[in-house]
Symmetry: C2
Subunit: 276 residues, 2 copies
Amino acid sequence: MSGRCAFPVSRAERAQLAMVLEVLASPKPGNVDRCHDYPETRLEHFIVSTLAAHTPLQAAESRSAGLGSLIEEAVRATSCHTGGNTHFGAFLLLVPLIYGGGIDGARRAVRESTVEDAVAFYRAFALTRVKVNATDELDVNDPGAADFLRRRGMTLLDVMEYSAERDMVAREWTNGFALCSNGARTLREDPEPRTAVRRLFLSLLATELDTFIVKKHGIALAEETRMRAVSVREGLQTVASLDDWCIEHDINPGSLADIVIGAIYLALEEGWAWDS
Amino acid sequence: MSGRCAFPVSRAERAQLAMVLEVLASPKPGNVDRCHDYPETRLEHFIVSTLAAHTPLQAAESRSAGLGSLIEEAVRATSCHTGGNTHFGAFLLLVPLIYGGGIDGARRAVRESTVEDAVAFYRAFALTRVKVNATDELDVNDPGAADFLRRRGMTLLDVMEYSAERDMVAREWTNGFALCSNGARTLREDPEPRTAVRRLFLSLLATELDTFIVKKHGIALAEETRMRAVSVREGLQTVASLDDWCIEHDINPGSLADIVIGAIYLALEEGWAWDS
């Protein structure tokens, strides 16, 4: 095919491409992929959410607002389907990475986040159905959350530091986007780009505890998921059997999917040839 | 999920949604769907083409150029992957439907198409790998095609009338977008929107000869494909077995996929609740 290559040309488009390549990677044990929908959340919802993210991701690229408001706008714009939360965690990573123009800029951007970013983030959180700990002092369903944040002077980075121990997406804000950055390198070094994303996913599943699984099911089941992924990598069970087991136990490694999106985005920024 | 629904709000976004819902519908005998890629053309390519179409589809909505140039721009913008032609036929339908703001406007727009639209259309055609008849007087590989069109004073509608007998997408230009319009009604009347697209596809496969199959394999195999689709509808064979047969015989009903995209677009314009 001849003709000028016109996609992706912007950071926002690279982020959309990252969202697409993540969700279409298959098989991805437990998560929505080409071969598996959840009754409420289907592949269509992830793709439609990706399309709907175009304008807010462009806003992140042009820095038309602060990080918190940009995340809020992305969550609001993509709440346009019946599939529930699709990309909340992904936006938490993509927005600073886009805003900052890469890792270094993103680190600077999160350091400069404000209390109002934190307040906007809680508004975004309230739009989703993300599972939260009901005893959490920063319960998003508490209308006093904004007051609390302002009284304590907590910036969005402070909020992420507060959540980092039990949320691997928040942890990326505090460790310089370490998993995303390592994942991008893994993708670029993979000799087969067309199937590299599913290998990255399985590799993360075998090495990191998905904190979304921990919140939903406790640490024991999260650790068992990780050990089963190790046994898949060692050839002791098939990825299909792990997928079945995850679905049977209602285990979806959603936070790892968010990390993978961040990793793909960074790899694309670094020129990764996904289609070669 | 609360929050303002922000997608699709424009004609361009509805067209993108139509492209997504068509390709994700599954099973679709012979075509790329969730369960089937071709070696060269994968589901990723259709989704990436959809993302890349945003700007040119917006141009169609704002009527920033004539129909031919708009089609050319869409084809050029989506030639950004290694998957070959993904949406050429779809743009032939979507561009006038978007430009015209529906059927009536599209009919008027194609009547008003010009010779320069035809010349631009041939430039677009040359960007694709669409199979053409080598003995065709209007061979797109002939650099004299533009001269020929200008000498004869052929508008883009004239070109479509010339091709209508053997190309069902061109035929839509000449019959008031009849199949797209009927398909839109079928979708809106289907009681189960989530699976309506695959039923529309199978229904068209059983009632219309796909002209892409005719060009590629001749009329006998196209007619056999249609009869096999009839037998699926009558419960005499499974859709999976028809899919296998199509793949075995390298039969992909690509023109029907284009018609289905036009039908979904019109249904969405008429308020079809795809996600209900």
